[in-house]
Symmetry: D2
């Protein structure tokens, strides 16, 4: 059972809906999935059961998923992200930081093995975009890549109630130049996308068995394809969340991206018009095109 | 199946809930019953079925109806009311207008039999109070009575989706002096109460079989008791609504009170501290105490 | 000094502005004139002086009054109105109520001379329209007229801080048939307009010297012109407000229309497309075209 | 001319006010100083002149600054901060990162001299506290210090319209362990304070002549005092803002802290109950007490 949001054509208002395993769409009588999650919790019932009850006698929505104008499945007030949680990510960031001279032990090696993971504030509601909307490239970077990541969708208590797909667009050159530039390599307007759906935790047996595929197309030609599985994660999901919660405010609907597992070749950088697809098994495929920023925003 | 709203003690926030025929209370995951009504409509299902699905596996709320701090069951943006829809009301208002000389045909006789009913704007959200809160007496009237009425709860399309109990506090002297004073005899701060519940139309076989009982207590002694039934209504409910809708804006959640059927004896007037109970079969009992207004509001 | 609101072309957002006696327009840094009124009151200064200070070194707005897309000068939560406050209005309403047989003393005669004036709730924010927008005719009336009135703009304490022009569109046939139909003869969608400006009380020496002119055009030809002065008012403005305040809630920005003084000939009724101009000296001219309602709203 | 916000005792609502050089307080008729800033800009006038006009005939507020319950002078949606903008800060952070072995060139040296400054998202509206409220210590750090900083208050276009005082509470041990932990060393609940006032840029001749003093008291005894001046800043304020604006969204009211210039001795760490005063000449003194977090938030 997955959750989506979309713009209803007639009213131009957002609708929340459940998507069944058969891809049937059923609108829900609430605007925020958290209302249902909280309600299930208070009733000690499963979210998935509550939703199944709600939609039991309902009519499926006439449009198919492909026809809908999707929104992010939740208006995440903040998107946090984890770094160096996969071996592959450690190697890639070491490469950036050492100009390819991989002989020295770096802070990437250290953080990979340390008790405390790397956590950073990746995006805010206003900077995060929906499926099929344009991501923006940063105007002062020459080495930009998508980072396909599993996202944990959290309650205000930091409980994981669902999984989504996130694209943590990143600037390898800025980050590689100095680790203190990390926020600038990560946070800018339209540098993050979420969606297309939230897969409820109730519907997932083992979150370490998600398959992740990332494809990049240029001029309709496949430029890059990479695959990974959350089984390669070097940390536990609960562990990542527990560090996010430490002394911090977790807003209801916060999304925690769990780190990068697929890295395009070092010579690759995104270009205006490239289409990025990130597919996670059971959740769906998040598609966005990247655009060179317009002058006004970049200033 | 009835709908209530109440203040949750822990959070001090309003909760919406369904009350079963066994008086079990189940909170609902939406804040406004209209969201459920609209959802059922879009799915061509019954509101009552949708609610039954939602609460199927839920735990009943631990507190009983009596223990809850009730709110009006819906935040009605406007409360409209009908006049002279019962024989009894016609007689009473003739009496006011003629000082008891009931020999002349008055506009009350005329409106009773005319095609067009009497309709007036009785109250607004800010002037309407919840069960168990204090109604205010008007400071410049010496002849005030409760008007116990069946209320129709409407969607923005003017469809009746539920029934509630309304108390249309009225000044017989001001109204009797001149029909042009009607708004002043009807509209003032805290002159209207609604509740305790909305009975869904889906749960009602025949809305012309409601029994209405009104009791007024002074110093814990029963001063007055009157009974009536909506079977005595001189007009159809749909007819009343159709006139409200004519060229008008009907806000979602508007309540239309359907007229007075129980009138205390002509020598009776409410006094500070009087407790009014209005009971309608299947909906519940709306209880309010009346207070003489404090100087500041009355000015 | 007058106050207007208009839609700024570039941002499509409302702006508040002051208009000087030389018709120069100066935008103000607040969105609601009440903020300035309250501020002046707390500082025991005149509203007009405060505004003059604010705009002292400002640049006049480049567009002229005629070029602006005006809004109502205040978002009045409620518009109340008074009836039979002029001799002319008493005669007209007697005529309606008696089918022209003016031999009997009616409740209009009585209310004209009584201590208590006639007051009614004429409109709400959602039913009130701006200058140059379309008023709607009621679909079930064959005798409709504009009622040109001086409007008192009130604080939440019921103090008059400004004057505006109001058009209280009315159905003479519905009202004439039965005084109990008054609310239906007065309240419907888009039956009231306010504007174009609020003239601050500080700028008015004698509010009983306003000249009111009403003109009705059909096919660009003048059909009717009537004139009156507030000197003909049978009641004091403070007296009218004091009755509105009695036991009632007065919302900040409530407008009280003070009654009709100009009545078109008895054979006149408004038709689709008629243009109504109401001019009050020192305040401005409120212009609206009346339209036959579209079916959807009228239902 | 300075701007403050405070809670009005009677209404418990926030008020905006101007404070003159003579410490007289004048309330303003808007709730957000940005409304005045935007208005001045549109009128090509100085903010300070507009405010002087507004308050010209006003009465000073009866309470003194000390008696008011201050709020942050602006509800900054985001607080960004710069790192290593002073020589002193570079040395301190080198010390943390090398355990005192200051022989190696680090990323702190590099960023100090690089074209691109270090920028990071320090806090959000919900994490930022007002003067005289409690800051929270992070529960998993043993080396925490205040960072007294000049704050730039920005419009949505990234223009500096005022200066304020900021306290960027930081964990030296977490940051020192690994630069990738910077967000965790900086962002947590109540880890940032702003205030007491905004000094308008119009009132400042040279922003590189601010004197900054930081004092830490324990048990009412002065433990530490440090002084610096913005003349020691290694970068230009405009330069810092230009990097914040790059491809980013700057929300109206965003505050950019300009880096630390005063660092307590390396053996010092904050303890529950310590009082921190940060004074910047012409702006005022920001006072907060630090508290060990309660278990519930820290979890």
């Amino acid at each position: 059972m997955r959750i989506i949001r979309f713009i209803q054509k007639e009213t131009q208002k957002p609708l929340l809906a459940a998507v069944t395993d058969q891809n049937e769409i059923y609108t829900l009588p609430v605007s925020n999935v958290l209302d249902i999650v909280e309600h299930a919790k208070q009733n000690k019932s499963k979210v998935i059961d509550l939703i199944n009850n709600i939609i039991k006698d309902s009519l499926p929505y006439p449009d198919s998923l492909e026809e809908l104008e999707l929104l992010t499945p939740i208006e995440a007030p903040e998107v946090w992200a984890c770094g160096v949680t996969y071996q592959k990510s450690k190697e890639a960031r070491n490469y950036e930081a050492t100009n390819g001279k991989l002989d020295a032990t770096t802070f990437y090696d250290k953080v990979y093995d340390a008790e405390r993971p790397e956590l950073f504030l990746k995006s805010t509601k206003e900077r995060t975009i929906a499926p099929n909307k344009d991501l923006y490239l940063r105007s002062d970077s020459n080495w930009q890549i998508p980072e396909p990541e599993l996202g944990l969708v959290l309650t205000g208590d930091g409980e994981i109630f669902g999984y989504t797909v996130g694209n943590d667009l990143s600037c390898r050159d800025i980050e590689g130049e100095n680790p203190l530039y990390l926020p600038q390599a990560k946070i800018w307007a339209r540098s993050c996308s979420l969606g297309p759906a939230i897969l409820l935790t109730d519907a997932v047996e083992d979150p370490y068995k998600f398959e992740i595929i990332c494809r990049i197309y240029r001029d309709e030609e496949l430029l890059f394809e990479g695959r990974a599985t959350t089984g390669q994660l070097h940390r536990r999901l609960d562990e990542l969340v527990s560090f996010l919660k430490r002394d911090n405010i977790v807003f209801p609907g916060t999304v925690l991206l769990t780190g990068t597992c697929i890295v395009p070749p070092n010579e690759f950088t995104l270009a205006d018009g490239d289409k990025i697809e990130i597919e996670i098994s059971g959740i769906g495929t998040l598609v966005n095109v990247v655009k060179t920023q317009v002058a006004k925003v970049a200033q």
